[in-house]
Amino acid sequence: MAAQIINDSVTVQLLSDFEKEAEWFFQKYNSFKDEYRGKYVLVKNKKIIAVASDFETLQKKVKELGLDITSSFIKYIPEKDIVAII
């Protein structure tokens, strides 16, 4: 099936927000990575608003904040930098 334009303004808005969080995260990554190594972080409105050492704890924090994990910008910051050819 070829590409289809669908009527889904909710997804468009969520993707627009998600792209902004991604842009902020990757542009600022070097400025905060040392502080959060080995941790999961939740980014919202271009800020890290929750941090946890394990995913289950971060999941609880996402819930407590009233956010939907499936549309939240969550990343794990590795303890050591990964360098990969892919």
């Binding site: 792209e19 542009q27 995913f55 549309s71």
Partner: protein, 144 residues
């Protein structure tokens, strides 16, 4: 149709990355994926399988073992997924595509949780998409 692509620095170098919604049997989530023109498969990696789905991924049928930076089991996901992107006209653009799960054989948490999902050559070829030249604002797009 033009879908914004970002050059983000990840794992030692710049990567083409794109945000999308992936809808499949038992999951529906937003993520950012690397566009990997060298990968024959499009893969929902373990970081997303764990964080964004409730799939029992360690028990999914195995398709094959491949090497990335270490061995990865490609897992069969039921049916095709819907991949939804935002284009530059703020339309939701939907594609159907066969996605695989990706689980690291080596249980190194650094890799399992840090590696993002992939949009592979299979998806680009099937939909006649390519990454175009930068525009006057320095942005790139998936175009057809």
């Amino acid at each position: 149709m033009k879908i914004p692509v970002n050059d983000f620095n990840w794992a030692g170098g710049e990567r083409y990355m794109v945000s999308l919604r992936i809808v499949g049997s038992g999951f529906n989530f937003l993520t950012d994926a690397i566009i990997d023109t060298g990968s024959p498969w499009s893969i929902i990696m373990e970081s997303d399988l764990k964080a964004k789905t409730r799939l029992p991924y360690s028990r999914l049928p195995k398709y094959k073992t491949v090497n990335l930076i270490t061995r990865i089991e490609l897992l069969e996901l039921s049916g095709e997924c819907k991949l939804i992107f935002r284009d530059t006209d703020n339309n939701a653009v939907q594609f159907s595509h066969k996605m695989y799960g990706g689980m690291f054989v080596d249980r190194n948490v650094q890799l399992t949780q840090a590696f993002p999902s992939f949009i592979g050559k299979d998806f680009l070829d099937k939909n006649n998409l390519f990454i175009g030249k930068r525009d006057e604002k320095g942005r790139r797009y998936l175009e057809n």
